[in-house]
């Protein structure tokens, strides 16, 4: 694999090498990616008994209400404890303040079973030790409430890495299972509807028992032990995989369940681990696979031959690029990812078209130059860049929709394709 180690990056994309291996451009300059706090926007909806208390600044609070582009007013199960001047002056007082805030929060919200203290850049920089605070508060509030902590700070995490950190904390706190009997753990937040579909498929395959991390109840995490086999539903879960491995669980390597092909390969990994008869497997997936293929066919007509450019955002870029290229005929100009975790993406990287150009990290100004020069038919980018690029005549897809929309599994394959066809159709239809 060719790697260009360029501290400052360059404005011209590295040329494809002769072989099938992707070229990787590493850049380090200004990033235009959210921090890990943003994951709370979906995690707090997913886990109905959990509350997220960010220990941060007004910036963090403002990010939380702006990140989704709209404000979410339905019973937020998150809040920010905004550090003030006097909290900075004395850490002892900051700890007392935090205890006070938590006590009052818990007294008013008896539906909370798991409280996450979420670290931010300011809390990290002043070295406010949230793991000690979590321990102290857990002792005080157990067994009713378990207090966990993780950092979603922008100096340590980009966007979806916040979920990785959160689930690592959850996995670390999970009970130990001593049984050798195999059980399946699906790791990574997916929409409830996707979870239910996967449950049905696994049950039809005879794979089980199946648990999800996170599940709808954070307090009811499945036991983890040597019998645990896990499948990653999201590509950004390096740390949680590390925690699971350490506890004796085994990862079932697979591509990610995007598109008909990815979903089949993903299910197959579990089916093989459970020695499911191939005929039975084909039988179970045939129906939904055919539906997905049918849903994709009409979209393929619109996307075939189109050229896509990905700015780094959620780490979903590589699996989705693979889906677009293999199932919809899209050619890939550059696939940016904030971070490339090769071990989890091995299968995905193998499925990319020969000589695909990847970039890891970011120097946004240089990347914008490359993007403008390439004039892609569709550009996948964050909310800060989308309108400026549209104004320059490029068609864009905001990448945040990829984490806020159910896109995994057979029944969502068409919806995932639709996210890319809609902006194209719109631009074609508009006569103004």
């Amino acid at each position: 694999m060719t790697t260009l180690e360029l501290e400052r990056g360059c404005a011209t994309p590295p040329a494809a090498t002769d072989g099938a291996e992707p070229t990787i451009l590493r850049e380090r300059g200004q990033r235009e990616v959210f921090c890990g706090l943003t994951g709370i926007v979906w995690l707090h909806r997913k886990m109905q008994d959990a509350f997220f208390l960010i220990v941060g600044s007004r910036t963090c609070a403002h990010l939380m209400q702006s990140a989704a582009g709209v404000m979410i007013f339905a019973e937020p199960r998150f809040a920010t404890a905004i550090l003030e001047e006097r909290d900075l002056a004395g850490l002892a007082d900051a700890n007392e303040e935090l205890d006070r805030v938590v006590d009052r929060l818990l007294a008013r919200r008896n539906d909370i079973k798991v409280l996450f203290l979420v670290g931010s850049c300011p809390s990290e920089v002043i070295k406010l030790d949230l793991s000690r605070a979590a321990e102290r508060l857990s002792t005080r509030h157990m067994p009713t409430v378990r207090v966990l902590n993780y950092s979603g700070s922008g100096i340590e995490t980009t966007f979806t890495q916040g979920e990785d950190a959160c689930l690592s904390a959850l996995a670390g706190a999970a009970p130990t299972s001593t049984t050798k009997d195999a059980s399946l753990l699906v790791v990574g937040a997916v929409a409830d509807v996707v979870e239910d579909q996967f449950r049905r498929l696994f049950s039809d395959l005879g794979v089980g028992p199946v648990d999800f991390l996170p599940s709808r109840k954070a307090a009811e995490v499945a036991g983890i032990g040597p019998g645990t086999r896990y499948l990653l539903a999201q590509p950004y879960l390096r740390d949680v995989a590390g925690v699971l491995d350490e506890r004796g669980a085994q990862r079932l390597p697979a591509p990610f369940p995007f598109g008909a092909e990815g979903t089949t390969a993903w299910l197959k990994a579990a089916a093989d681990a459970w020695n499911v008869d191939p005929a039975r497997f084909d039988d179970v997936v045939a129906g939904p696979h055919a539906r997905a293929t049918k849903a994709l066919a009409s979209r393929r007509a619109l996307l075939d031959g189109k050229r896509a450019f990905f700015f780094p955002d959620s780490q979903l870029e590589i699996p989705i690029a693979r889906f677009l290229s293999r199932e919809l005929g899209v050619s890939l100009i550059e696939v940016g990812t904030p971070y490339l975790h090769r071990a989890h993406l091995e299968e995905e990287l193998r499925m990319l078209p020969a000589g695909a150009k990847l970039s890891e990290g970011q120097d946004v100004d240089l990347q914008l130059e490359r993007c403008r020069a390439a004039r892609p038919d569709i550009t996948v980018c964050g909310l800060g860049l989308a309108n400026p690029l549209e104004a320059e005549g490029l068609t864009t897809k905001w990448s945040i929709e990829l984490v806020f929309t159910p896109i995994q599994g057979y029944e969502q394959a068409g919806d995932l394709a639709e996210l890319f066809t809609r902006p194209i159709v719109r631009r074609e239809r508009l006569a103004v």
Binding site: Q30, E32, H62, G69, F78, L83, I126, I155
Partner: protein, 525 residues
């Protein structure tokens, strides 16, 4: 530590971004971690700007801490100047960088870039967005304004000119207010020297001194600068908000007084006749709650009371810097001022007062949705839908027209209101049926006002429970409960509270239909 769910204002560096983004060829180099780049979307998504804000973030990481964050900053300055060739740069730090104390000002000067460097201190742990914007604008003017421009000021017999200070990026209706105010000033015979910061370049700031006087269009953003120009450049200023018919008239009179000469007449507004037309009768005494940025809220309360004959039942602001104006307004309307940036306190006050209309920010619109009370947005912070495509100023003669329309749009119209009251049991007049011209502006009362008192503070408030908790000992008879449902939803919460209060005060343990009507008579206004 302050617990916050929603904030009315961002941190001060977002205020600084609003100034940089408003100006031409001014670049802001912000020492900040990557997550802070979210602020770009405020401009590109909420305000629908078609270009990235002129901001370079250093996006330093944990591994850079203690080693070379200062070097990263310096490099970002050099790169940004080379890439964007600005005429001046603003340099500052966000909350995290403030803690690592790299001194952006010193680093930028040391980079030797040959253009003006404007350092701004943005204390994130004590100040907020408006303060940051005001301070940044002030520093821009202090660093760039050229006193020599005073020589170009019109003589006593020439035409007078003014600067318009305050309009910025991400401002609520600033784009249109500037157009309207420019038109108004031209009509009365005053020229515009410079509008700043919106649309101003370095050269424009240099020649601020050439104006006879300053107009402070938004005191929260421009007053500090105007005071400095008054002191240093001998430029008087007018800060009267030209909002509503009376406000606009007062604004023109204040300019005439300042210039000591009569001025041509401003264009007339439709508001006076629209308000006198008999269909507006139903507006009389509508109970409104006003909340927003302080200067705006105070002005809007006057328009509501004096130009539409609404009853102002509450007025407040989230920015303490403007608390004085709001206190004065509250006194005028005979209510308690509500000065708070705690969204939950505002929600509690609205639930308690049960107004028929809210004039507020996007937060109050959400509160209104939950409580089943209509709302018109009159102040930042605002949602993308509050940035209309059409010309829609809030100042001057056209601004008065816009306000009239905006206030009455969410309300149920006159005769429709009577029909709703007369035939409560018509199945199509259910509680979900809002004004017939607004498609889905209302939540059902089941999730609305009647449950508000219970559901609202339970959510997340860490402040102690407010005294508005109902549940005195009185119980409702089945008939009275039924009768209550015949009262239109927009006054039902009030009727319920009145009846309970009346029953408590008069020792009725059960609220019967009679008690309900006695209470109605008792509280009749």
């Amino acid at each position: 530590m302050q617990l916050a769910v929603w904030t009315y204002e961002g941190p001060p560096h977002v205020g600084a971004m609003r100034i940089a983004t408003a100006m031409k060829k001014v670049h802001f180099i912000l020492h900040a971690p990557q997550g802070d780049t979210y602020a770009d979307l405020l401009f590109t998504m909420i305000e629908r700007r078609n270009a990235r804000p002129p901001v370079t973030y250093t996006t330093f990481e944990a591994r850079d801490l203690g080693s070379d964050t200062a070097e990263i900053y310096k490099r970002a300055v050099i790169d940004a100047v080379e890439r964007f060739s600005p005429d001046a740069i603003i340099v500052g730090a966000s909350c995290t960088a403030e803690l690592i104390q790299d001194d952006p000002g010193g680093l930028a000067r040391a980079a030797g870039i040959g253009i003006p460097v404007i350092p701004v201190e943005l204390p994130s742990y004590t100040r907020k967005e408006h303060w940051g914007a005001s301070e940044t604008f002030y520093q821009v003017v202090r660093h760039l304004a050229d006193k020599a421009s005073i020589a170009d000021r019109p003589g006593p017999d020439g035409r007078s000119s003014c600067n318009i200070l305050g309009p910025s990026a991400l401002g609520f209706r600033h784009r249109d207010d500037v157009v309207e105010l420019t038109r108004l000033l031209r009509d009365i015979g005053v020229d515009i020297n410079v509008v700043a910061p919106l649309g101003a370049g370095v050269d424009d700031i240099r020649r601020l001194g050439a104006a006879t006087f300053n107009v402070v269009l938004y005191p929260e953003l421009g007053e500090t600068t105007a005071r400095w120009l008054e002191r240093e450049y001998g430029q008087p200023f007018v800060a009267t908000p030209p909002i509503g018919v009376a406000g606009t008239r007062q604004f023109v009179e204040d300019i005439a007084k300042l210039l000591d000469r009569p001025l041509a007449a401003a264009a007339a507004s439709n508001l006076p006749w629209w308000s006198r037309s008999i269909d507006s009768n139903y507006l009389t005494g509508k109970r409104v709650f006003v909340f927003g940025e302080g200067a705006k809220a105070a002005a809007i309360a006057s328009v509501a009371a004096d130009e539409l004959a609404f009853d102002v039942v509450g007025v407040g602001c989230y920015n303490r810097e403007m608390a004085r104006q709001v206190r004065t307004a509250a006194q005028k309307h005979g209510v308690e001022p509500l000065i708070t940036d705690d969204y939950l306190e505002v929600e509690a006050a609205i639930a308690e007062l049960q107004p028929e209309l809210i004039l507020g920010t996007q937060m109050e619109r959400h509160i209104g949705k939950r409580l089943g009370i209509p709302c018109a947005v009159i102040s930042a912070p605002a949602h993308v839908q509050d940035y209309p495509a059409r010309y829609s100023p809030h100042v001057g003669p056209e601004g008065a027209n816009v306000l009239f329309d905006a206030f009455i749009h969410p309300l149920v119209m006159g005769l429709e209101e009577h029909l709703l009251a007369m035939f409560r049991e018509d199945f199509e007049f259910n509680d979900e049926a809002g004004p017939s011209h607004v498609s889905h502006g209302r939540v059902s009362v089941a999730q609305g006002q009647e449950t508000a008192a219970q559901s609202m503070p339970a959510e997340i408030s860490l402040t102690e429970p407010e005294t508005h908790a109902t549940a005195p000992g009185e119980t409702w008879s089945v008939d009275a409960e039924k009768e209550l449902r015949k009262i239109p939803f927009f006054v039902r919460g009030k009727a319920r509270r009145n009846a309970e209060q009346f029953a408590a005060d008069h020792g009725h343990s059960t609220i019967t239909v009679d008690v309900l009507y006695e209470a109605k008579a008792h509280y009749a206004r």
